[in-house]
C-alpha cells in the first residue's frame, strides 16, 4: 500500500488529435513544478499520478501541484492491489470525521470478483465500524469515499478532492509579453493569460531616482509570486526616467500619461519581436483610470501592430481584487511604493486624447531614439518560483 496523488486534467480531454502535445506540455510543467522534491510523475488514463515521495513532502507537493495550470482537481489516494481483502484492510487507514457519507465503487477491472454495489456496502460497513457516529446517505452526503478498481491491477481509495487552478498548461499557447507594474491589476492580468497557456515574459518600466528601488523590488516580488503558477520567467526592467523627463519638458502636461503609455507600448513591441512573443498583455480595465478610456486605449493601441490582450477589460475592480487575494499578489501590490512619481503626474490628465493632437505633441520628441535608449538599458532578472 502506498500513498500517491492523482491529478485530473481540465479541458485537455476535449482536445482531439493534438491532445498529445498538450499532455506533454502538462507533464513537463508538472515535473518542473516539483523538480526539487523526490517523486515520480506518470501518466494514467486522463490523469497524472505523482508517487514514490516521502510522506513529509506530501503537503508541499499538494501546494505546488494545485498551482499547475491544466489540472482541475487532485486527490491523495491509497493504492493497493486489486485484492478484496487488501482493499478492505486499507479502508481502516481512512479516517472520516463525523458526517454523512457514501461509498462509490468503480470497477474497471471486470475480473474483480465482487460487484460494485456489493463491494461499496462491504467498504461502508468497515467505515461505520471504525466510527459509529457516521451516517450513510447515498443522495445527500458530506463525504464520498471512492474505490477505483483499475484494469492495471491496482485500486485507488480516496476521499477528498482538492481544487486546482484549472486552465491550460503554461507554454502551450505560445509566448506573450506582459506589462507588469506594481499595482493590483497587471499581476492578475498575467495570471489570467498564463492560465490560458501563455508562456510569460514580463516587462516593467521604472523611473529611478524619481521612484524608489523598493518599487522595483515590489515588482520582482510580484513576479516571484506569479512564477509559482507560471513557472520560471524573465523580468525585463526598463529604465524610463529619461523618457519621463523628456515628455515632462517638451509635451503638454495633460498628455503625460498618454504619451508615456504609447512609448511603453512601442518599447514592449520591439522587445516582443526580439523574444518571439506573439502578443502584448496589459492590465487595463475599461474606465478604471483616466488613461483607460476607449480613447486612451485606442491611443496606446494605435502605435503597435501586435495583438494586445486585456484580460481584465470587463472586470470590476472588486473582482480583480478578489483574484489578486486568491493568487496571493494583493498584499504585495498594496505596498506604498508607486511605480510613477507624483512629479510627473498631471493634475488634470486628458481623458479622451485626440490622436492627431497626441501625434503632434510627440513630434517634440525623438521617439525613435528614446525607444532605442530604453531597449539599450534593460536589466534582465531571472525569476524562479
Amino acid at each position: 500500500m502506498q500513498r500517491l496523488i492523482i491529478l485530473r486534467y481540465s479541458e485537455i480531454h476535449l482536445k482531439g488529435s493534438n491532445r498529445g502535445f498538450f499532455e506533454k506540455c502538462l507533464y513537463d510543467n508538472t515535473v518542473k513544478a516539483i523538480e526539487d522534491i523526490k517523486a515520480t510523475v506518470e501518466k494514467g488514463g486522463a490523469r497524472y499520478i505523482v508517487k514514490d515521495y516521502d510522506a513529509k513532502d506530501e503537503k508541499k507537493l499538494i501546494s505546488r501541484l494545485t498551482k499547475v495550470f491544466g489540472y482541475n482537481w487532485l486527490s491523495v489516494a491509497l493504492c493497493v492491489e486489486n485484492d478484496p481483502d487488501k482493499i478492505l484492510q486499507a479502508v481502516n487507514e481512512i479516517k472520516i470525521s463525523n458526517c454523512t457519507f457514501r461509498v462509490t465503487t468503480r470497477r474497471a477491472d471486470k475480473n474483480f470478483p465482487i460487484s460494485s454495489n456489493e463491494f461499496s456496502a462491504m467498504v461502508g460497513e468497515i467505515v461505520l465500524k471504525n466510527n459509529a457516529n457516521l451516517k450513510v446517505n447515498l443522495d445527500n452526503f458530506d463525504k464520498e469515499l471512492k474505490v477505483d478498481i483499475r484494469e492495471n491491477g491496482y485500486t485507488f481509495l480516496y476521499l477528498d478532492s482538492i481544487k486546482c487552478v484549472g486552465g491550460m498548461p503554461t507554454g502551450c499557447a505560445g509566448k506573450a509579453i506582459c506589462l507588469l507594474s506594481g499595482g493590483i491589476d497587471s499581476p492578475v492580468a498575467i495570471y489570467k493569460i498564463a492560465k490560458r497557456g501563455a508562456k510569460i515574459y514580463a516587462v516593467h518600466f521604472h523611473s529611478y531616482p524619481y521612484t524608489s528601488e523598493r518599487a522595483k523590488q515590489k515588482v520582482v516580488d510580484l513576479a516571484k509570486i506569479l512564477s509559482q503558477y507560471c513557472g520560471k520567467m524573465k523580468l525585463y526592467c526598463v529604465s524610463f526616467t529619461k523618457v519621463q523627463e523628456e515628455i515632462h519638458k517638451k509635451c503638454d502636461p495633460k498628455l503625460m500619461i498618454t504619451i508615456m503609455r504609447r512609448i511603453m507600448m512601442r518599447v514592449t513591441e520591439k522587445l516582443a519581436h526580439r523574444l518571439k512573443c506573439k502578443a502584448i498583455v496589459t492590465g487595463e480595465s475599461l474606465g478604471q483610470v483616466a488613461s483607460q478610456t476607449m480613447e486612451g486605449i485606442m491611443s496606446s493601441n494605435s502605435v503597435v501592430s501586435m495583438p494586445v490582450f486585456r484580460p481584465l477589460i470587463g472586470d470590476d475592480k472588486n473582482d480583480i481584487i478578489d483574484v489578486a487575494k486568491q493568487i496571493g499578489t494583493f498584499d504585495t501590490s498594496i505596498l506604498p511604493y508607486e511605480d510613477c512619481c507624483t512629479v510627473f503626474l498631471p493634475r488634470n490628465p486628458i481623458i479622451k486624447p485626440q490622436l492627431d493632437y497626441v501625434a503632434k505633441q510627440e513630434q517634440n520628441l525623438d521617439i525613435e531614439q528614446l525607444v532605442k535608449d530604453c531597449l539599450k538599458n534593460i536589466e534582465i532578472i531571472e525569476i524562479n518560483p
Binding site: P209, P336, E338, T342
Partner: protein, 374 residues
Amino acid sequence: MIYFDNASTTKISQLGLDTYNEISKNCYYNCSSLHKGGLNANKQLQQARETILNSINGQFNDTLIFCSGATEANNMAVFGLAKKGARILTSMGEHPSIYNTFKMTKNNVVDFVPLAENGQVDITKFQELINENNYDFISIMLVNNETGAINDIAKLVEIAKSKNEKTIFHSDCVQAYGKIDVLVDNLGVDAISISSHKINGPKGIGALYVKNGLHLNPITFGGGQEWGLRSGTENLPAIVSFAVVAEDKVKNIKANYEKVKHIKERIIEIFSQNNFDYKINGDVNGSPYILSISLKGVKGEVLLHKLEIDDILIGTGSACSSKSSDNRILNSMGNTKDEIMGNIRLSFGVDNTINEAELVANKIIEHCNYLRNI
C-alpha cells in the same frame, strides 16, 4: 558612503562590537542559571544596569528594565504606568511608538497637545490643557526625531506637577540620550525610554527607567526576569555593549556635541553662501544631531534617491507618494503639503566629518537646481 541618517539608526562602534563579541563568546550564560557561569552573567547584567543608571543620574533604588528597544520601552510605559481610565496628555510630535500606542488604548481619554512652529510642544496650549484637566499620565519626548526640536521637559514637568504632583511624567529620550544631557533628577521626570542603536550601540536593546516607588505593571509574562516586569532571557551581549557604549558617549558628550554642531552649521553656511532656497523645520538651535529642511519645488524622496546614487544616504519625512503625503509632526508645525513633500532630514553622528558636510551640502544644491528646472 556618506551616512547622514543617524537619527534612524547608527553604525555600531568598534567598542560596542568588540564588547558584544566578547560577551557572546565568553559570557554566553543565562543570567538566571545557578551555576558559576550564570552568576558571572548576572554580575555583568547588574553592572551594565548600574552604568546606565549612573549615566542618567538615577538612584540605586530606581528601576531600569532592559527590553528590546525604545518601542517596547514606550509601550511598557504607556500600558504599565498609565492605569485603566487614566486621563492622559501627550503631544502631536511623539514617535509612533507613543502616539499610536495611545491611539490604541481603549479605556483612557487622551489629549494631544499641538506643536509650535519651532517644533517644540506649544507651551501655552500645554498650560491651558493642564489648567482645564487633571492628568494622571503625561508623555512628552525630549528631542523630536524628525526636527531635532528640544522640549523644555523640566518646565513642562513643573507645570504639570504644580497642578497635580501625582501626575506621572514619562519622556521618550531616544534622540537625546548620549547626545545631550539626560539627567532624570534635573528633568524631574518619573520615567524615560532610551535606546542603544541610536548611539552606535547594538540593535535590539533599550531600556525603560522608572523612578523608585512607582508601580509598573508588566505587559509580557514568562520566566519572571527583570523583577517580573519584562520576562524573557536577558540579551546580555547587547545589554553590556549598550552600557559600555553609553558610558563612552556620556563621557564625551560635550566634545561630540561640538563636533556635530560644526557639521550642521557648515551645511547651513554653505546653503546661505549659495543663496539656496530652503526652509529649516524646527528650531535652528535644536539638537545639532538633526537638520530637517523643506525644499520648494523638490520632492524629498526624489532628492533622497538622487543623493543615494552619489553614495549619500539621508532620510525624508514623507514618501513621494500621492497616498502618503501627510506627516503628522510637520503638519502640526503648520507646514504646507508642498513643504512636507519637499522635506528631507539630515542626521549626524560622531563619525561624520566637515568634508562630508561640504560635499553633501553642495550635492543637495546641485540636485535641487536640476530638479527645479525639469
